[in-house]
């Protein structure tokens, strides 16, 4: 077994699949390509993969169905690649247990970043695995549903979050009570390391507080630990 991350890339469009495979190889991944679900299935039997990049719209068996097949048998993370951007289809994909979703045309750099985030989670290198699909977190009257990426207050009113805020809140929730510094938060949420004087994390936290804290100036949910970082206070129930 090589040390390189092994990726299964499933897409019927050779015009996209081939340059993408080339790019990923340059980035230091090991790639197997499949142009349809049955080819992917036989590759799955032949190799061990760390992650699957899966196109949804394919002739014959589509990506959703193949994802279900993978989920039933093994524990390999899946990232959907699709031209569809409808929010509902995003939800369908995540409900089926995909770990992430990128829409065409995507930035290859962003894709690599996401692959790294998911692999880190899967390897448990930072805290426990988030197991992002289908969890419901309840904390201080709030409900966060990961399959819909939705946050609702005690009256059921939805509070829209940006994806950065969502990632940040999920990172804190899944490690409730654990103090996370800026580097760890950036690593979990964006798969990158903090630059010196990086304010991105503090920015996201203060935005989150404005949305969920009764008084953002004296936060009760996301507390600041001086010199350390941030921690989600109070009880968190995971359903």
């Amino acid at each position: 077994m090589s040390d390189k991350t092994h990726i299964l890339l499933v897409d019927d469009e050779a015009s996209l699949r081939e340059p993408l495979a080339e790019y990923l190889e340059k980035q230091g991944f090991r790639i197997q390509q499949a142009s349809n679900a049955s080819a992917a299935r036989s590759l799955l039997n032949a190799y061990d993969f760390d992650i699957i990049l899966l196109d949804i719209m394919m002739p014959g068996e589509d990506g959703l169905s193949f994802c279900r097949y993978v989920r039933e048998r093994m524990d390999i993370p899946v990232i959907f690649i699709s031209a569809k951007t409808e929010e509902t289809e995003r939800i369908v994909g995540l409900e089926l247990g995909a770990d992430d979703y990128v829409t065409k045309p995507f930035s290859p750099r962003e894709l690599v970043a996401r692959i790294k985030v998911i692999l880190r989670r899967a390897n448990g290198s930072v805290g426990s695995s988030t197991n992002s699909s289908g969890s419901i977190y309840q904390f201080q009257g709030w409900t966060l549903k990961t399959d819909q990426r939705s946050l609702n207050d005690s009256d059921g009113v939805a509070v829209p979050l940006s994806s950065g805020e969502y990632q940040m809140l999920l990172a804190l929730l899944s490690r409730a009570g654990q103090v996370l510094n800026r580097d760890q938060l950036l690593d979990i949420t964006q798969g990158r390391e903090a630059h010196a004087f990086d304010r991105a994390v503090d920015n996201q936290i203060s935005r989150l507080r404005r949305k969920i804290e009764a008084d953002p100036k004296s936060p009760e949910i996301i507390k600041t630990v001086w010199g350390g970082g941030y921690v989600l206070a109070g009880d968190v129930q995971t359903l």
Binding site: P19, M57, A83, K84, E86, E87, S107, V157
Partner: protein, 460 residues
Amino acid sequence: MKKLLPNSLVGQLLLMVAFMLLIAQAVNMLLLYRGTQNQNMIEASAGAVARVGNFIGRREVIGADPRRGFRWRGSRPIISRNTVIGDNVERLSELEERAAIAFDNMGFNLRSVTAAKVEILPPILQNSVVGLRRGRPSDKTMGRQKNRQIDGYILLSVQASNGNWISIASVVRDRRPRIVGTLVFQTLVLYLILLIPLILLGRYIEKPLRNLTEGARNFKPGDGIMVPESGPPDTRQLIAAFNDMQGRVGSMMDEKDVMLGAIGHDLRTPLSALRVRIESVDDDGERERMIAGIEDMDRTLDDILSLARLGRSGEKSEATDVSALIETVADEFSDMGDQVSFSRQNRLTANIRATLIRRALRNLVGNAVKYGNSAEISLDSSNNLLKIHVDDDGPGIPEDQISSMFEPFARAEKSRNRATGGSGLGLTLARAIARDQGGDIVLENREEGGLRATLSLTMQ
């Protein structure tokens, strides 16, 4: 006047029928009234003719004044030199003819027969009135006439062959009160008989029509909700045809969706291939420009597809914190280095499809930033309306061009050049999204300069 008319088919039908029945009954009443009046006259005159005939007959038999030796009950004719009927009274020619024939049949030879109707009895005929009951009713018919009002008198005056006039009066009784009573009763009975089945029939017709209206109003292509076929055959046919049409529209929309999906897929795949290949361009500036070009194309494609698919969105409306939504959009732009401000006040919620509204708002803020350098977002609520204002400091838009700004590919600078980017669908899409959810978007020039775009939403 219009308010008095019922606005339903059945209501109007009922009102019409009731009104027509009333008119028919009125005509009926008029005819009946005239008929009975005639009848009254004939009845009254018959007595008078009989009396006079009797009188003349007797006189001819006994050859003397018949008043002597014969007990006249109640009234007897008078004999005079001149007729008792003056010139200025209304003569009843029809009665005169009938009487003349009657006398002819009795075998009397009379010089003339005159009859007239008067309101007041001439004094001379005071004791010669037929039909004025004195003391006791002579027979049952008279008894029944007890309650009737006296409605004038008929005077009958005939000139015998010797030139003398024999005259008598007869009471005309009024039957009006009973006629009116009967007619009111009749009308009511008619109403009952006619209107109750009509109301039932109306319900039978109206209910399916109401269902149909409801169905047409709530029609969403592809939801497969059929209007139940009920009611009379032609209504059933109408509903069946409507359901049919609904199905056809649904499948057309489905086809459109499939086609749009295919277009989206087929254009985005080569676009993504290009996007991947661009990464190998070494010149940073060149690469960034290429990426920007692809992103611009992608946004345009996205706008077109969204606009075409609007109304078919699977997203459900949900009570949403609008302030948080605005904040999310404002932050997106601030992160990109744009000047966008929003000062959050109290929390306001509305029942919306957040993803779509976010997109509409993004388009408005995007325009403000692009054409007006900065965007200031404010939120206010009055009554049941929630208004999101996006103000900019740009040059505004000439008043006469404001309404055309919502047309696809309209641009304030008229040139349609793409230097400023964007698809030209932003406002069109934003307004379509707002209207799809019962809201709207209005543009106006601010007094202090710049443009204000207002997105209004109904709160729940």
